[in-house]
Symmetry: C2
Subunit: 451 residues, 2 copies
Amino acid sequence: MSDSTAEILLHIRDLLAGDDSTAMRKVLAGLHPADIAELLGELENEQKVRLLKHLDNETAAEVLAAVDERSGQALLQLLSDTEVVSLLGEMQSDDVVDIISQLPPEKSRQIDALLPSGEREKFHELLEFDEDTAGGIMEVETVAVQEVATVREAIELVRQLADQIENLQNVYVVNGEGELVGTIPVLDLLLHDSSEKIVDLMDDNVISVPVDMDQEQVAALFGKYDEFTLPVVDSSGKLVGRITVDDIIDVLEEEASEDIAMIAGTVEDEIGETSPLKVSRARLPWLIIALLGQLLNALIMSHYSLSIQEFVALVFFIPLVIGTAGSTGIQSAVVVVRELAVGQRSDAHIGRRVFRELQVTLLNGMILGLILFVAVSVWRHEITLGLFMWIVLMSVTIVAGFMGAAIPLVLSRLKVDPVIAAGPFITVLSDIIGLLIYMSYVTYYVSNIRS
Amino acid sequence: MSDSTAEILLHIRDLLAGDDSTAMRKVLAGLHPADIAELLGELENEQKVRLLKHLDNETAAEVLAAVDERSGQALLQLLSDTEVVSLLGEMQSDDVVDIISQLPPEKSRQIDALLPSGEREKFHELLEFDEDTAGGIMEVETVAVQEVATVREAIELVRQLADQIENLQNVYVVNGEGELVGTIPVLDLLLHDSSEKIVDLMDDNVISVPVDMDQEQVAALFGKYDEFTLPVVDSSGKLVGRITVDDIIDVLEEEASEDIAMIAGTVEDEIGETSPLKVSRARLPWLIIALLGQLLNALIMSHYSLSIQEFVALVFFIPLVIGTAGSTGIQSAVVVVRELAVGQRSDAHIGRRVFRELQVTLLNGMILGLILFVAVSVWRHEITLGLFMWIVLMSVTIVAGFMGAAIPLVLSRLKVDPVIAAGPFITVLSDIIGLLIYMSYVTYYVSNIRS
């Protein structure tokens, strides 16, 4: 929060304490709904409602659509059902659906009963779509003209619908069956003679989004084509809605948070969560899997306890060997997963990709091994031990790097989200493999080289 | 690559082998420039140039702006300087600057000399901006009208400039000094009488971006205000350009890749990089730091070699203890870093945030410790050892969780990018602290409890 926001917040708290609604309206008029939403997050629940009542219905709706989920929940609890319905009437359909789907079932039923019947059906249809698909993020409000319409007719339609649709960018052109056949930027309507036919001006090379497309792929389409809005069509090619790029920004942040959470061994819901119980539950599954993996490590070591007792110095390097294996494995895995996520998915590249990883880890293993060789030779005064550790480190990094790259690639080919391989799973697996390699080398070393 | 893309690619390869330029033009006319750019990535360099020459200048420029960096470099090398200059003439200024800054110095000088002098100065100014700031991603092309202009005059200006500006969304309003004083959506020009004054219609509550703002903050502004374009102003409030949301999508992907790369202990440049040498260089610094940390671990253990020899079974659990410490530390660190990245930065929350982390790790430590207690009691038939390991695990997770949360928060307060704490650094630190705690407990256990 910036200094000026903090000042405004103080001022608003003062005004809420008093009763000067003219002054309050004046302050609020100078703020963007998104700023009011941010301020709302800092107020007590009861203050939130009082602030909202100082706003006109349209602004209040924009604020409600922009607040964080927690503040939204609180507001919806404190507002009466009729107040909620009147605010929903001012919103784009995608925001309405977001809010309805967050309500407790009881409240949701009450609100539902108060909606105008045409609206109710529309929202029910939208609620059917998986929230991670194009249908789940689209809004149904579009401006669609028939291909036989003239520029004048299109402008007339835009004028009628302009205040219902935010950020109107393109007019969509449909044929008699409602199938999407072209688009035309609103701006182009300004540039052409009003008697010209839409069909002659439209771009019929239209990029559209299937309603059941995964939101991550939708985001990739926006990224590729640099569009601000894209039309959504059903399986028969009929226009059913549009997606705006501001929702794509939310998708990208959500997907990045999801991947980052997975890499750390938790779930995206945890980010911003304040209940320790919920956070604990988000993290425990991976921690337990890691713990079981490490118990396997303990078993492996107990198997080698004779070698350990014979040569304690080799124990000192256990954390080093498994730590390096873990770091190498996670580097390979995370980079491969990210490359898959930003769209470099060609199957033909798998072999090349794994081969490159082997080259990189061989190189890194050699250099890390050299450093270790020098350190061990100086510290323990044993060149043989130094050479031994060098070979260990090279073997371990190559195997860990190979696994780190191969596992996500294989998962991706099996249509499993490769990011599950990029977290604690690969670290623990690298630990286990690293330890196994080390312990077999140690046994060989103790029984053949030192004796 | 989808099946249909692969088919088109085959077709284009056939056409390039032959000489039927009419058929080629027909195929290309059905493709979006972004699709052509994707196909180009699959062709040989010499084929790339030949394909480009089948396109009209405007489309070729769009393709060049959309190709990946490697293909772009190859094309720029193979095209003559005059061809490059003529393509640059069709591009938005931000794309031109991207391309010029990628050219080798020699080529860049030659191209520079061929640019019209007005253009040259404009690009030189743009090249001055740090590429990670608003100035580095903005384009200078805008439609700016004086506040005293009428709707008719504004429409006239839009008509004149429309073909030079992609995705025109808003007309910016400036005063006599060139200072930005308002905005008006192009669409609104359609809805008002042509004799109305712009100053009466414009929104004077204008959100603008300072030219030196970091691109990550710019992306946060777009995310907050749901805008498709935002005007950029210099320190005196003068309008200098605009940023479009398609560039923000690139920024978000880049920043997410950067964070993910950091967490894995490498750099963003590695993603998509094919040279093993460059990849190795990207990863080695963190690996070496981790190795040095693990050498410290080896030293610590050598200090406790007496305890180790006396009670080998306790060695078996070393990977488990440090692995759990590492997992816990990285979970706390990554979640805190992500919360900071998505904008939850209030300083007042630091104390609360760390306290929550202590609650979570206490809870998780208790549960993990319980599992370990059962496993150890059953396996080693020693309830005391089980209890001991329970206490160890709780201590270790709490300390690792505390560090994981506190270090990024402190870094963020010191204005250092907290993500550097979320990678191998926190893992190694947790390993070391975990080992230290374990070894001191072991010494106490061996000398006081077992004896």
